[in-house]
C-alpha cells in the first residue's frame, strides 16, 4: 500500500495493487480542496498504464463537480491508454451527482470491489 496522499481538508488517497489491478481509494469529501490531491494520485498510477484501474468510492460521502471532473479526466486517460476504469462503492449522494451530470451511463459503475474485478 502506497503512502496515503492527504488533501487540505483531510481527505486521503490510498493506492494498492490487487490481482493485477490498481485500486485507488479516496477517503473523505472530494471537493475543490481535495480534488487536486486525487488528480495527482490518479496521474501517478495511470503513468504505469495499469490494465485495470478501480476507484473505490465507498469512503467518499460527498463529491462536487471538481471531483467529477477529476474522474472524467481519469476516464479519458484510461481510454487513451486502452485500460479499463471502474468506479465502485459509490454512495447515494455521490451517485446522484453523476446522474445529474448524466455521467452514470458513461462510467462503468459497480456496487463493490469484488464486482470491479469482473466487470
Amino acid at each position: 500500500m502506497a503512502d496515503p496522499r492527504k488533501g487540505g481538508e483531510g481527505m486521503t488517497v490510498r493506492s494498492e495493487q490487487r490481482e493485477g489491478a490498481i485500486f485507488v481509494a479516496p477517503v473523505g469529501d472530494v471537493d475543490l480542496t481535495a480534488s487536486p490531491v486525487l488528480r495527482n494520485e490518479l496521474k501517478r498510477v495511470q503513468a504505469g498504464r495499469p490494465e485495470r484501474l478501480v476507484i473505490d468510492l465507498s469512503q467518499v460521502p460527498y463529491m462536487d463537480s471538481s471531483g467529477v471532473a477529476t474522474l472524467v479526466e481519469a476516464m479519458q486517460v484510461s481510454r487513451k491508454n486502452g485500460s479499463k476504469l471502474v468506479l465502485c462503492g459509490m454512495q447515494s449522494k455521490v451517485k446522484s451527482i453523476f446522474e445529474i451530470a448524466r455521467l452514470d451511463t458513461v462510467f462503468t459503475i459497480v456496487p463493490d470491489a469484488a464486482s470491479a474485478m469482473t466487470s
Partner: protein
C-alpha cells in the same frame, strides 16, 4: 429534541423584524466567508444543518448544500481567480407560512399574535411525546405551526461582473471535465437567477420549494392535512419528499 425539558418546539431561526416598516424581511441567516476553498465544507455543513432545521427532506438538504458548494466554487475559481481573501456572503430567507412576510417579522415567533411554533421536522419528538402524554395533541397553547414553504438562498460577491446571459449550463453530450457547476445548480434548485450586484460583484439567487408533506401543526401536534401550498412556482425538481410524517 431530547434537551427540551419544557417540551416546547424550537423557535424559528432568528431574523430581524421588518414587515412593519414595509421593507422586505431580512435574512434569517447571513454568513460572510473568505474565498478560501478550505471553508467550503463549513458552508456545506451550515446549509445542510439550517435546511434540515427548516423541515426540508434530507435529499433536498443535500441538494441545497451541493448547489451552494458549486456556486462558491465558481466564485472562487472564476470570479476571484482563486484569490483566497475576498468576501462572499451567503444569506438564507425562509419564505411563506409566516416566514418572511410583512407583519410576521421575517419568521420571528410571536406567540401573542399567532402562537406559531416550528417543529424540528420528521423527528419531532415533542409532538409525539405530547400526544402520548395527554392523548389530545400534546402541548397546549400552540395554534398552528409550520415550516416555510420555500427557502431563498442568496450568494453575493465583489467579483468582476459578467453578463448573466452568458452563465449557462454546457452541453452534457460533450464528455469533458469541468463546466458542470451551473448545470448542477439549475438541476437541484427550483429557481436560479444571476444578476449584477450594486455597486459591484454578482448576486446569485436560488430558491428551493419544500415539498415535504405534513409539517403543519395544529394545537401542538402534527396535522396530516398535507403540505402548504408552495409560494414559488417551478418544476417538480428532484426532491422526493421523503419523510414528513411525525411518527
Amino acid at each position: 429534541m431530547p434537551n427540551d425539558p419544557a417540551h416546547t418546539h424550537d423557535r424559528p431561526i432568528a431574523s430581524p423584524a421588518s414587515g412593519e416598516s414595509g421593507r422586505p424581511a431580512g435574512p434569517s441567516i447571513r454568513l460572510e466567508i473568505r474565498s478560501n476553498p478550505l471553508f467550503l465544507s463549513a458552508a456545506r455543513e451550515m446549509i445542510a444543518a439550517a435546511t434540515r432545521r427548516l423541515g426540508f427532506a434530507e435529499e433536498a438538504c443535500s441538494q441545497m448544500a451541493l448547489a451552494v458548494d458549486e456556486a462558491l466554487c465558481n466564485i472562487i475559481r472564476h470570479g476571484y481567480n482563486r484569490d483566497p481573501a475576498r468576501p462572499i456572503w451567503i444569506s438564507l430567507y425562509p419564505q411563506g407560512n409566516g416566514w418572511g412576510e410583512a407583519g410576521r417579522g421575517g419568521g420571528v415567533q410571536d406567540p401573542a399574535l399567532s402562537g406559531e411554533t416550528v417543529c424540528s421536522g420528521s423527528s419531532c419528538s415533542p409532538c409525539r411525546a405530547g400526544r402520548a402524554s395527554d392523548g389530545n395533541g400534546g402541548a397546549g397553547g400552540a395554534a398552528i405551526s409550520t415550516h416555510p414553504a420555500s427557502l431563498r438562498i442568496v450568494i453575493e460577491d465583489e467579483a468582476i461582473q459578467v453578463d448573466p446571459a452568458v452563465i449557462k449550463s454546457r452541453d452534457l453530450q460533450e464528455i469533458r471535465p469541468g463546466g458542470l457547476g451551473v448545470h448542477i445548480i439549475k438541476s437541484v434548485m427550483d429557481e436560479v437567477k444571476y444578476e449584477h450586484r450594486q455597486p459591484k460583484g454578482m448576486r446569485l439567487t436560488m430558491t428551493k420549494v419544500r415539498r415535504d408533506p405534513a409539517h403543519i401543526h395544529r394545537d401542538g401536534y402534527c396535522d396530516s392535512a398535507g403540505p402548504p401550498a408552495p409560494i414559488v412556482g417551478g418544476s417538480a425538481g428532484d426532491e422526493t419528499g421523503s419523510g414528513g410524517t411525525h411518527g
